[in-house]
Amino acid sequence: MSDLLASDLITPDAGEPPLLGLASVSILKVAPLARFSFRARTASLKKAGTAFGVPLPVKPLTSETTAKRAALWMGPDEWTLLAPEEDLQAVITGIGSKLGNEPHALVDVSDRSEAVIVTGEKAAWLLNTGIFVDLSQETFPVGTVTRTLFHKAPVMIWRIGPDAFVVEAWGSFMDYVAGLLVQCAQELEAA
């Protein structure tokens, strides 16, 4: 997946078999990550970005990535920060010391969510079986990230390639989300 965004960060979980592996679409579990919910006022963003290692995007629904970091816009004062699992403490310390007493909230939500990568020419089609967001490349280009609903479950989707999406859901919703993705893909196997 070298042509994809955040390639070093979002990697399939080697210990888990693929949830789905069709010619037109596959679903892979994402390996554990350090995830943070970061909240702050505008004045603190620059410092926070510097401390984290990637600027926090201010344009709605966009993301900023480097090899080891991703900052995803979630709301006007809310970002999801992603880092390798082993950097968990470093990020907490880094942002904490840089921002000092400036009001902000950094909460470890590494295990709140689980993620899958949905890739293949039918990836957008498959997401659209349950997500009411226009996923055409003009309106949802690579790098776009948003929270939305997949059928009855809240999810976050992040386009990391023309035909590749990260789909995140809270841990207790992942059976539902992954299960339905697999089920909805079934018809692709039919003649």
Partner: protein, 1000 residues
């Protein structure tokens, strides 16, 4: 095989592929490309059903989705789907269809006696009778009426087919692929706009597929269609959806489409959905739904063999089927003449064209003459003969006086009729646009657009091939430009022939018979006749809605697409009001009946609603534990061992917790991390309790009210640092508490420097409760001192569990020494397995929610939603202690000051002990002061929680009782059907009142 009414050649069927099917058990044959209706007609079968009320024999009337008569049941996998329109059912090999609403058979139906008794059953007859004797309505009359009503029989078995869903966005959605729809698609697609073209039929092309008298660009229209579809199909920006009905037009240009994916296949792949719901958000919509032909309302216009003229032409040209060998055509407009000519050209004997008009166009008369067809102008049909198939029609000649003179009889085996055309304005009407009367078209046509939509072609009251194409191109271009700002020029095709005709009629036709005795049907399916409409008006029904509801006209499965205009005209005459003043009923979604499964989609079985599981789930399953549904969560309920019943299991679990130790999964509790310099201030404003002085490392029970002053949630809140709190909520209340906090934070106190983050799913939580709790967790906890001195009750620490970071709370919901360990969800299973192994060594148990409820009730801890119900204040619950007296404000503070929340005689939470310790009260049972209260005596309150307490070896209960706090020690009663149960009012704490067991 013999298909006696099949033409020699022509049509779009595949004559090489013969298909076998059955209708009411009789084996018949058709071809690929047939509908069930066309195949039945090819076999000479017209009688296909019985009418709703009079059980009259009925035949196929139309060739489209508006078909009112030919409703059949179709079998698949030994079950049948009722009420399918034979005109829409595509034929496949082995198809099994049955007729409906008849007993014992279609040919002989005992219900037909209703037709003889029909003088007793005028519109609304049931409102006037069946009232005596009173008890007979639902026991005698109603069952008879219900059995007689209804159409098909419901399916017998659960439906195992799947239904798909797709959300889609497009620039231009085009509904309908006749000449104007196709032209619109071509024009819009050429601009590069994203286009979805859908059509309810199996093939695109609409009327072009049966057009015999015109050419486009010099080609047969069907060829032009094929080329256009090929061109569209090759474009990336176009999605073509045949067999797809645009059935609902909702707010903000949201259109729902129903795609039939497998219904036409003999042996569909089970992985394919039967149907698919397309939920489309279109920037612009082009409605190209065409127009449908109107029946003529003359006496006995419902015999099998009577069809709409255009249907006759469609069966001939598209399906290669002759509707009869001797066909009579009755019309009030030009278009039906072409049907007569086409039939004649296929060698069918056309026994006459009966035109209502005094002088039909000379050109048509000349063509008829050339084919030797008898033409009767200024004539109507006054009656038809034949029971299960038309045999003849009686003619009437219109006199200048307005009277009708008998005009003889014509033998025929089929009659084609046309009262003119009605634009299909259903979708436009659903888009909330108002139709306007177009006198020239003699029809209601779409008025001003309310949403981003335009109607084109016949749906807009515009006829004629060239005009329809031109209008379609303009609509497509206009829609694309409006949606994308882009335009393109495309070459418009040129047509020859297919000019618009004229003529048409509305309402009941004159005849020479007793109008009050004959049946001239307006709404075929619901058996509504012209005289029914007149009766409704006579009885004072003046609004068209009243007429519709009183007679049921327009309430059939076509929603009145066939009948409305005729009914309106008849009502207009009866009311002596212009048609436009009578009013119109509203078309509602769905456009055609739409499968429930399509709406339900994937929401079934385990996917009906997300099943949220905790990390201990599999362990519980393996142990044979049972689950309880709490919101979307599955929570372990109790763990029966060795065939224990619930009572025994719960008793054992409770005793073990109090004696040694128990392990409980508390992961489902809501968790919210409140962070920021104003975190304490924020909690101070949200909860009733004071928070500012709570030291880091300590916890406090928090009580949450709404601004009305009633308790809505509670939970333990731990302070991790000056600016960081770990808040817990009830399981069911988690989402609403979080939403409420966001609401106050964002809209009332945006100045506060604090943020909240849900961490419910971040942590798995194990509660270890019981005298041995400390021993159980000690081996795994590192980094902190677990002693009572270092870690007193209501403390929180960050530590590690087996090397994994954890938040350790020393709290108790059992009254015993207790800890709740929060680790990352990922490590939840490890933690659970570790602790489960450890408690076993200490004679401990895992316990479920039921034992948890008993243990907390013994201690008088309340459960929000069980001991409170949204009408309980902190004072009522005996929790005045939880209110920070010195606080300036908190959510609910002002609400509590309202007169009735401070009034005497409020219901208050108390304990109840039955006089007989063995009797356990029923939860929900009422509490009274009298042993045997008279019916209607208001209760003093009710039992909210009731259990057998193993610790006390007796039953205990909590109750909400009027003035309860003042009644301690008093006797009350809980009246039950078997007799009253005496109880004594007590405090709410039953066990370890001093709390000694907590402080160890």
């Amino acid at each position: 095989m013999s298909q006696p009414f099949r033409t020699e050649k022509g049509g779009r069927i595949d004559r090489a592929e013969e298909l076998t099917f059955t209708f009411d058990g009789e084996e018949l044959h058709g071809h690929a490309g047939d509908t069930l209706a066309s195949a039945l007609l090819a076999n000479g079968v017209h009688l296909v059903g019985r009418s709703f009320k009079y059980h009259r024999p009925r035949g196929i009337l139309t060739a489209g989705s508006e078909e009112p008569n030919a409703l059949v049941g179709v079998y698949r996998k030994d079950d049948q789907t009722p009420n399918l329109r034979a005109t829409q059912v595509e034929l496949y090999d082995g198809l099994k269809a049955i007729s409906q609403n008849r007993f014992p058979s279609l040919g002989f139906d005992v219900g037909a006696v209703n037709d003889l008794l029909s003088p007793l059953f005028p519109a609304g007859f049931y409102y006037k009778t069946f009232m005596w004797p009173k008890s007979f309505w639902d026991r005698v009359y109603e069952p008879i009426i219900r059995a007689a009503a209804g159409l098909g029989k419901p399916p017998k078995n659960p439906d195992h087919d799947s239904y798909g869903n797709l959300y889609a966005h497009c620039d231009v959605l085009i509904a309908g692929s006749g000449p104007s729809g196709l032209a619109a698609a071509l024009a819009a697609a050429e601009t590069g706009a994203k286009v979805i073209l859908c059509d309810e039929q199996a093939e695109f092309g609409g009327s072009l597929l049966s057009e015999s008298s015109a050419t486009i660009d010099g080609k047969d229209p069907a060829v032009w269609v094929a080329e256009a579809i090929a061109r569209l199909g090759a474009m990336d920006n176009v999605t073509l959806l045949p067999r797809t009905t645009a059935f609902g037009y909702f707010a903000h240009n949201f259109v729902a489409l129903a795609e039939r994916v497998t219904e036409h296949l003999a042996d569909p792949d089970p992985r394919l959905p039967r149907e698919r719901l397309w939920q489309v958000r279109a920037k612009e919509v082009v409605i190209a739904a065409g127009a449908i032909e109107r029946p003529m309302v003359f006496p006995e216009n419902d015999r099998p063999g009577i069809l709409l003229a255009d249907a006759g032409r469609t069966y001939l040209n598209r399906y290669g089927v002759k509707v009869g060998h001797k066909v009579l055509v009755a019309t009030a407009c030009d278009s039906a003449w072409q049907a007569a000519f086409d039939l004649a050209d296929h060698g069918v004997e056309v026994v006459g064209i009966i035109d209502l008009r005094e002088s039909p166009p000379e050109s048509l008369v000349a063509i008829a003459a050339a084919r030797g067809i008898r033409v009767e102008a200024g004539c109507v049909i006054t009656s038809t003969l034949g029971r299960k198939r038309i045999k003849a029609a009686l003619l009437g000649r219109l006199m200048t006086s307005g009277q009708v003179a008998s005009g003889g009889q014509i033998e025929c085996d089929a009659l084609l009729m046309s009262g003119g055309w009605t634009p299909t304005v259903s979708l436009f009407s659903q888009s909330r646009g108002k139709v306007v009367w177009d006198a020239e078209a003699g029809a209601f046509v779409p008025g001003k657009s309310v949403q981003k939509e335009r109607s084109t072609g016949a749906a807009n009251g515009l006829y004629g091939l060239q005009a329809s194409l031109a209008d379609g191109y303009a609509a497509g271009e206009g829609a694309a430009r409006a949606a994308t700002g882009k335009s393109a020029t495309i070459t418009h095709s040129r047509t020859s022939g297919g000019e618009a005709g004229s003529g048409g009629t509305l309402g009941a036709l004159p005849h020479d018979r007793n109008a009050s005795r004959v049946k001239a049907f307006v709404d075929y399916q619901n058996d509504v006749t012209a005289k029914d409409v007149k009766l409704a008006v006579r009885e004072g029904m003046q609004s068209i809605e009243h007429i519709k509801r009183y007679t049921t006209t327009g309430m059939a499965t076509d929603q009145g697409r066939l009948s409305n205009m005729n009914a309106l005209q008849i009502a207009s005459g009866a009311l002596d009001k212009p048609l436009t003043d009578v009013g119109l009923t509203t078309f509602r979604q769905p456009f055609t009946p739409t499968t429930f499964g399509l709406f339900a989609g994937v929401s079934r079985g385990d996917f009906f609603d997300p099943v949220r599981k905790t990390p201990s789930h599999d362990w519980v399953v393996a142990k044979g534990g049972l689950f309880e549904d709490v919101g979307q969560w599955k929570r372990a309920w109790y763990f029966p061992e060795n065939g224990e019943d619930m009572h025994a299991a719960v008793e054992r679990e409770c005793r073990t917790v109090r004696k040694s130790v128990g392990l409980f999964d508390a992961s489902t509790l809501g968790k919210i991390e409140v962070v920021g310099p104003d975190a304490a201030e924020f909690l101070e404003r949200m909860y009733t309790n004071p928070w500012k002085k709570l030291a880091p490392g300590r916890c406090r029970y928090g009580l949450l009210l709404n601004d009305a002053g009633f308790i809505t949630d509670d939970g333990v809140i731990g302070r991790l640092a000056d600016d960081r709190f770990h808040v817990t909520t009830t399981t069911g209340g988690a989402p609403s508490v979080f939403a409420t906090m966001e609401d106050y934070l964002q809209t009332e106190w945006p100045d506060l420097d604090v943020w909240i983050t849900s961490t419910t799913d971040q942590y798995a939580v194990a509660a270890v409760q019981g005298p041995k709790a400390r021993e159980v967790i000690a081996p795994f906890i590192e980094g902190i001192d677990l002693s009572a001195e270092a870690l007193p009750h209501m403390s929180v620490r960050e530590a590690t569990f087996c090397g994994v970071p954890c938040r350790l709370f020393r709290i108790s919901f059992t009254g015993e020494l207790g800890f709740e360990i929060n680790v990352s969800r990922r490590h939840g299973k490890m933690m659970w397995d570790t602790l489960a192994g450890e408690i076993a060594k200490h004679d401990g148990v895992a316990y479920g929610t039921e034992a948890m409820h008993v243990l907390r009730a013994e201690k008088g801890y309340i459960i929000i939603g069980q001991d409170t119900d949204g009408t309980v204040t902190p004072q009522d619950a005996g929790m005045t202690w939880a209110i920070g007296k010195k606080k300036f404000d908190f959510v609910g503070k002002r609400g509590l000051e309202r007169p009735d929340l401070k009034a005497e005689n409020r219901k208050q939470l108390v304990g109840l002990l039955t006089k007989d310790p063995k009797i356990k009260l029923e939860e929900g049972a009422q509490v009274t002061t009298l042993e045997n209260p008279a019916t209607g005596t208001p209760a003093e309150g009710h039992v909210t929680s009731s259990y057998f307490s193993p610790a006390l070896d007796r039953s205990i209960a909590l109750a909400i009782v009027k003035n309860g706090h003042a009644l301690e020690g008093k006797a009350l009663y809980v009246p039950m059907p078997e007799g009253s149960i005496p109880v004594e009012v007590t405090g709410t704490v039953f066990y370890d009142k001093e709390g000694a067991r907590l402080d160890v």
